[in-house]
Symmetry: C2
DNA sequence: TCATGATTTGACCATCTGGTCAAACTCACG
DNA sequence: CGTGAGTTTGACCAGATGGTCAAATCATGA
């Protein structure tokens, strides 16, 4: 059995292959829409073989989500009180947008989970995520008190960054259907920079 | 059989009940995650009875989507060249936000479909939706040419309105988990009005 | 009222799905 | 090379799922 000793070479390879395949399938069909057979096929394993590495479909999903949640929140964690507040926030926007471009599957994995009520990560949202957002919102509020950025509702400001950047990954089909040939990520960075500059530049 | 003659009273009632139940189930679980039994139960019908009114699960889904697409795009259609451009756009934002508040199931239905690659409405997106957006983007571009609103990429402007408003319906769980007690729709209208005023107010 | 079409249902079916298991195979290392 | 742990698989299972059908029930207007 795959116990909790140091993983063998084969274990590492197969676990990684399974998680990658699961990311493809879960992000494309949601939890209930994904099938173990499909994940196994995509990972190049038989179904029983896959279930030798993870005890259940649920376990794969959980492993994926919890393994990715940290990565997902890293850009926000990196928002700190160094230098110019506006540049800090613009940096966060840029990093988030870049993640949408480079990790669209991860974005859609979370989008699927959230839009369906987040039954499996609700706790992480109201614990870890809330704590992190509370902290960063407080930081932004301090910047506003000091007049270094314009005053807006800090939580809604954070929501806006999430929604504006993840939109390009989560609703990629729609964006591309509307834009036609034009690459979404050509115009997005400029648009978002303009938006947040105008929103947050301190006004007299 | 339910043919194409004028629908009876019972037909109207049951079809409506089915579509309402289907909206609940599809918006909560996505297409593959929804089951016919679940929809039938929620509509207060037996499964064979439900399948007497719609030939298949797919047919229910299609009927729902195409019936709702028009409603969904109405606010954008209402954006026209009357009065002040900025107020026109703010009105659009307000209507969209109101829809997120009042019709969250509809929003999540589309969100589910889009995030999973929109296999069933891809055509409507690249035909009707694209045409409508092209038209309204052109209108906005005219306003920008006339200096009546500040210049930004008109397509990304429209995407931003979609993402910022629908976020509150689609990712409701996350928003509420982070906000705690505070009602999301308390702060959202002000935040969005401020955002679009600052973004679009013509600058010297 | 009663005949006829509309509506409803229990029983059923084929397929899919998550998961199990014992047997077979492979690999690393003494 | 042999051996025991690690790995893989074909066959299988129970329950869920989309869908069918003939028979029963209901509603309505002539």
């Amino acid at each position: 059995m795959a116990n909790d000793r140091a993983p063998t070479r084969i274990q590492r390879k197969n676990r990684a292959a399974i998680l990658d395949a699961a990311l493809n399938v879960f992000s494309a069909h949601g939890f209930r829409g994904a099938t173990v057979d499909q994940i196994a096929a995509e990972a190049g394993l038989s179904k029983p073989n896959l279930l030798y590495y993870f005890p259940s479909k649920e376990a794969i999903h959980t492993a994926l989500l919890s393994g990715l949640l940290d990565t997902w929140l890293d850009p926000l964690r990196a928002l700190e009180d160094n230098g110019d507040p506006l540049e800090e926030i613009l940096g966060y926007v840029r990093r988030k947008l870049q993640m949408s471009q480079e990790l669209p599957r991860e974005s859609r994995l979370f989008a699927n989970e959230l839009v369906q009520g987040a039954p499996r990560i609700h706790e992480a949202l109201s614990q870890d995520l809330k704590a992190l957002v509370d902290e960063k919102a407080a930081l932004m509020e301090r910047w506003m008190d000091q007049g270094r950025i314009a005053r807006v509702h800090p939580y809604h400001l954070i929501f806006s960054i999430w929604s504006l950047t993840q939109h390009y990954a989560d609703f990629d089909v729609q964006v591309r259907a509307v834009l036609g040939e034009e690459d979404p990520f050509a115009g997005a960075p400029d648009f978002l920079e303009t938006l947040y500059r105008r929103l947050l530049t301190p006004r007299p």
